[in-house]
């Protein structure tokens, strides 16, 4: 187990290095830069711009900049944001809660609904319900998330006036109800795709389990269908779901970012876009690294959980 963990860890580190090199190269090899937003400032001269670039260390050779960044990272220094001079980790930390709130709510919701749909469909395979849901899931996977958000805003904000068009809370309110009110639309929009994914996987997993010998045995022992389902089928079908949860993390994160932009949700996606617009390289790099770490961590935890839940699987 320890050896396995060490191996996974080592692989993750290699991955992170590759991620950082790709990210750094992409960001720094392209034209433009963080000073471009001052180019139109009244009274701003090229002289001043050159001086600021020099002070920020922007005109050093790229490999030097990368090694400097990497060396500091190893010492726990993620750099400081070009935008507000704050440590990158603080900046990200202040936005990550909003994203996790959105992701968490939506994931909980979509797992609940998706699991139910999946099991319901698998126990009544090829019923009208099953067909509808299968087709529905495929259509849901095809709808652009941001557009679905726009349609949501059009109906529920502009036409009906029920839900706010964006933001996480109303200034001066900030009660739990207020948060929930703002959370409804973005989390439902984000759930759309996830429910589709979950229900399809759950359906397949449940179907796989239903046909196995031990389920037949349980049925033969005279247990009620409901008991068989709850005790034997669902439990076992959930195991691959854990792995899936780990695998789905990048796409849930990506989806959250998309949703954030439509609903001006102050999370990591918003921060990413703002930082890109500003060429705030330290923060962009930080976000790339943090999301990569989140994803790696997610799949690692999922693997460990599977091993814990299912004694038949031995990690090696």
């Amino acid at each position: 187990m320890a050896g396995y963990l060490l191996n996974r860890l080592w692989q993750s580190v290699v991955l992170l290095v590759i991620v950082s090199i790709i990210g750094f190269a992409v960001l720094n090899l392209t034209p433009g830069g963080p000073l471009s937003q001052f180019a139109l400032t009244p009274g701003m001269t090229q002289e001043a711009m050159d001086r600021i670039a020099e002070q920020m260390g922007l005109n050093r050779p790229l490999p030097v900049q990368y090694l400097d960044w990497g060396w500091r990272l190893l010492q726990g220094d993620w750099g400081t944001s070009y935008r507000d001079g704050q440590p990158v980790l603080d900046v990200i930390g202040r936005h990550i809660t909003a994203t996790l709130l959105l992701m968490g709510t939506s994931t909980a919701f979509s797992i609940a609904i998706g699991t139910w749909i999946g099991i319901h469909g698998a126990t009544r395979p090829y019923s009208i319900f099953d067909y509808t849901v299968t087709i529905g899931a495929m259509v849901a996977l095809s709808i652009p998330t941001f557009w679905f958000g726009l349609v949501g805003i059009y109906i529920f904000t502009l036409e009906l006036g029920w839900l706010p068009a964006g933001n996480m809370y109303t200034i001066g309110d900030g009660s739990v109800l207020d948060y929930l009110h703002h959370l409804i639309m973005p989390s439902l929009v984000l759930s759309l795709v996830n429910v589709a994914v979950w229900s399809r996987y759950m359906r397949t997993a449940t179907l796989d389990v239903i046909n196995q010998e031990f389920v037949k045995t349980a049925r033969a022992k005279g247990l009620t269908e409901r008991r068989v389902l709850m005790k034997h089928v669902v439990g076992n079908a959930m195991v691959p779901m854990i792995t899936l949860a780990g695998m789905q993390l990048p796409s849930i994160l990506g989806g959250a970012l998309v949703t954030e932009t439509v609903f001006t949700w102050p999370g990591m996606g918003r921060l990413f876009l703002d930082s890109l617009g500003y060429s705030d390289y330290p923060v962009v790099m930080g976000l790339l690294m943090v999301s990569a770490i989140l994803v790696l961590l997610g799949s690692l935890i999922a693997d460990l959980l599977v091993a814990l839940v299912d004694p038949r699987i031995r990690v090696s």
Partner: protein, 291 residues
């Protein structure tokens, strides 16, 4: 997706045959829809009374079914129907070529890393994992935000961020095939590695590749839409389904059709490809590990 679950006494309409037919019917619906859409995009612009680029500021924000503006006009008074079809050409082409390119990259990397295990294979697969471990939308946006956003560039960027799935599938396939007898035989015959990889093994892995490629078109169309929606994609005056949505948010209350029409079109196109991919998966009997 095991079919063994069906109890023996199922009525006829639940039989395996019907199920397959139903599945394929979806694929056929998808195929018909996408063919019609493509035809409309190719021929349509010639049949409509308006040019997609013709600006008429007196006719701005006309709602659908105003005169010959079947789908209304945009903020510059251009015909939405004409733009939608013109945009379809670009979006579909971007989707198609992004698929071609990403499938080629993915296949190449997948075959090589599956065939050469050891250091080469491991390194390549680590790179695949690295690309997979950040949300591709991050990478896509970072690239698009910093490069000249021409249709060709957008195609390349989308391909660069969506080849990993194919690489993984191909790698797994090749790894299992390389131990097969016919590969061993080829090796004994002294055929070159390149020959074995691309002439012997690859044809046997075509099924999963075709399925993955179809789904990649769907994905590429969605990605283009998203990047263009944020203003980093295809630039006006060239229309694309995504950039028709860019700015639509601003007119959501006054001209909702500007947001609704392109969105529905995107959904139809993507759904079609997903249906086709699903049907192909069944037809080619590919295991459905990957949706």
């Amino acid at each position: 997706m095991s079919a063994l679950a069906i109890p023996a006494q199922t009525p006829w309409w639940r039989s395996r045959g019907v199920r397959r037919f139903a599945r394929h019917r979806l694929a056929i619906i998808g195929l018909v829809m996408i063919t019609l859409l493509t035809l409309a995009c190719i021929v349509g612009p010639y049949l409509l009374p308006y040019d997609s680029l013709y600006i008429d500021l007196r006719a701005r924000f006309a709602p659908p079914l105003t005169g010959y503006h079947f789908l209304g006009t945009d903020p510059l008074g251009r015909d939405v129907a004409a733009r939608l079809l013109e945009a379809g050409r670009i979006s579909l082409l971007v989707g198609f070529f992004a698929m071609l390119l990403s499938t080629m990259i993915g296949t190449l990397i997948g075959v090589v890393s599956g065939y050469y295990r050891g250091a080469v294979g491991a390194t390549l697969m680590r790179i695949v994992d690295a690309f997979l471990s950040f949300p591709s939308i991050f990478l896509l946006l970072a690239l698009a935000a910093l490069l000249q956003p021409t249709p060709i560039m957008i195609t390349i960027i989308i391909a660069l961020t969506s080849w990993m799935e194919v690489a993984r599938i191909v790698e797994a396939e090749v790894r299992s095939l390389r131990e097969r007898d016919f590969v061993q035989a080829s090796r004994m015959m002294g055929l070159s590695s390149a020959h074995i990889m691309f002439r012997e093994i690859l044809p046997n892995a075509m099924g999963p590749i075709i399925v993955a490629a179809t789904l990649t078109v769907a994905r590429a169309i969605l990605l283009e839409a998203y990047v263009s929606f944020l203003g980093y994609g295809i630039q006006p005056p060239l229309p694309s389904w995504g950039n028709m949505l860019n700015g639509a948010q601003q007119y959501l209350s006054t001209a909702p059709w500007l947001a609704i029409i392109p969105g529905i079109t995107i959904t139809i196109a993507v759904t079609s490809f997903n249906f086709i991919g699903d049907g192909l998966r069944d037809a080619l009997d590919v295991r459905s590990d990957h949706m």
